[in-house]
């Protein structure tokens, strides 16, 4: 196999120009691309396209909170940085802290996790619940889109050949209750078999907001505002009567697991029901364990 060209830009401007001129594939942490293209010990991985190593671009690093509570996460932020940041949302911290092994969490980046568009990717799942946006930059400018719209299906995103993911933007959140589960083969160092985030905002006994997102349960992270709306605006006291329709819709229509579908539908149903029942039982505000 012929060796592909590799570019090592020092600045974002340089990287964007190379991206435009060559369409080279961006490589950030390498944890997906190096494995996907591996040819074994002692052999250079068999990349099919030229590679643009963006690992060291200072413009894509750092996590900050803006005055209105919006959180901007540089695309090169690692899982560890996201997990330990004082300003990232707890649901995103949970997902980041459970990705792979310790060493992987020090390499893998949020931009890569989104761009790789695996339905088992850990971070897109809470990001989609949180209405997060990706910022896509090219030499011609910048555009933003919801992570939910950016990831189209397994391994397919809306990125153009001249763009780089530069940031992830999470709007301010107002939830009284949050819930996160990751099911894997073991507690650490495991790929997700099934994940779920759920969040609710309960004010004066009324469900002001309710969201859920399911990972590893379809060709992409699955969320449905339409099904969520079955619960929104109702009193908590009405949830026992409403939850059946919600759970039926979520577990049969929203998620679309291709393997072991009965297991994934049942496990998702039980997790969501547990969360809803906790709300009905008056669980104190915060994380539902």
């Amino acid at each position: 196999m012929e060796e592909v060209k590799c570019y090592m830009p020092q600045t974002l401007a340089e990287a964007l120009q190379i991206r435009k001129d060559t369409g080279a594939q961006p490589l950030a942490g390498g944890s997906d691309l190096m494995v996907a293209n591996s040819r074994g010990a002692g052999i250079v991985p068999g990349f099919k396209k030229p590679i643009l190593i963006i690992s060291n671009l200072p413009e894509l690093k750092g996590i900050r909170q803006l005055e209105d509570g919006t959180v901007e996460i540089g695309a090169l932020s690692t899982s560890w940085e996201i997990h330990t940041s004082p300003v990232t949302h707890p649901l995103l911290k949970d997902a980041a802290s459970r990705m792979g092994a310790i060493a992987l969490r020090n390499s893998a980046t949020i931009g890569g996790n989104i761009g790789n568009a695996s339905p088992k990717g850990d971070m897109p799942q809470p990001l989609i619940l949180l209405d997060a946006e990706v910022v896509l930059q090219s030499v011609d400018g910048e555009r933003r889109m919801k992570v939910d719209d950016f990831i189209i299906k397994t391994k397919v995103t809306a990125i153009r050949d001249d763009e780089l993911i530069t940031k992830v933007v999470i709007p301010p959140q107002k939830f009284t209750h949050i819930f996160f589960r990751k099911i894997g083969m073991r507690r650490s160092n495991a790929i997700s078999k099934l994940t779920l985030s759920a969040a609710a905002n309960i004010q004066d006994g009324v469900v002001v907001d309710f969201r859920a997102s399911s990972g590893a349960a379809g060709p992409k992270v699955e969320r449905s505002r339409e099904v969520e709306s079955l619960l929104i605006g109702h009193k908590v006291a009405e949830l026992p009567d409403l939850k059946g329709a919600f759970l039926d819709a979520w577990c049969s229509d929203v998620i679309a697991p291709h393997a072991m579908p009965e297991y994934r539908r049942n496990a998702t149903r039980r997790m969501l029901e547990y969360f809803i029942d906790s709300l009905v039982a008056g669980h104190p505000e915060g994380r539902v364990e």
Partner: protein, 160 residues
């Protein structure tokens, strides 16, 4: 644009001019003769190749050498003669942590990072600290006990 890769390896400044897409693990083993890092899975899951990059544990089997521009790398060869390194190695020997030994360099690197960050870890914290390092021989218990031993015996070292 960078035309080479400059980094620090066990305290020595290095300039790498080869293919930036080679795996850092291959460069360490073949170009620099640092064979303490072992290749197990080649996918960042087993931890046998673990080294320390800017103070953090990483697996060089999934890192292209072109991405470590400016980094400070420490391998097992860089810590084995230090006080902290000797403390861990002696504790592993005394505690009987080693059977075949293949996972041990990576395990020692994970221990080094763990004790630097947490000089007095609980058993759970130790198990979490080495959760990315797989061992097929020991069943882990003697490794966990040996890490306890390293924390106790080296207390002053780790607390700085």
């Amino acid at each position: 644009m960078y035309n080479d890769v400059r980094f620090t390896l066990n305290g020595q400044p290095m300039v790498y001019t080869g293919n930036p897409l080679r795996r850092l693990l291959d460069v360490l083993r073949e170009d620099y003769g640092l064979t303490g890092s072992k290749e197990g899975c080649g996918e960042g899951e087993c931890g046998a190749c673990s080294i320390i990059k800017n103070g953090k544990l990483v697996t060089p089997c999934i890192i292209p050498v072109g991405s470590i521009q400016g980094a400070e790398l420490l391998t097992i060869e860089g810590i084995r003669d230090t006080e902290k390194g000797k403390c861990i190695i002696e504790a592993y020997a005394e505690g009987g942590a080693v059977q075949c030994g293949f996972c041990i360099p990576g395990m020692v690197m994970a221990t080094y990072v763990l004790l630097n960050e947490n000089p007095d870890p609980t058993e759970d914290e130790i198990r979490l600290g080495i959760s990315g390092n797989l061992c097929r021989c020991t069943g882990y218990d003697l490794i966990v006990e040996s890490i306890h031993l390293a924390a106790q015996k080296g207390a002053a070292l780790w607390k700085k």
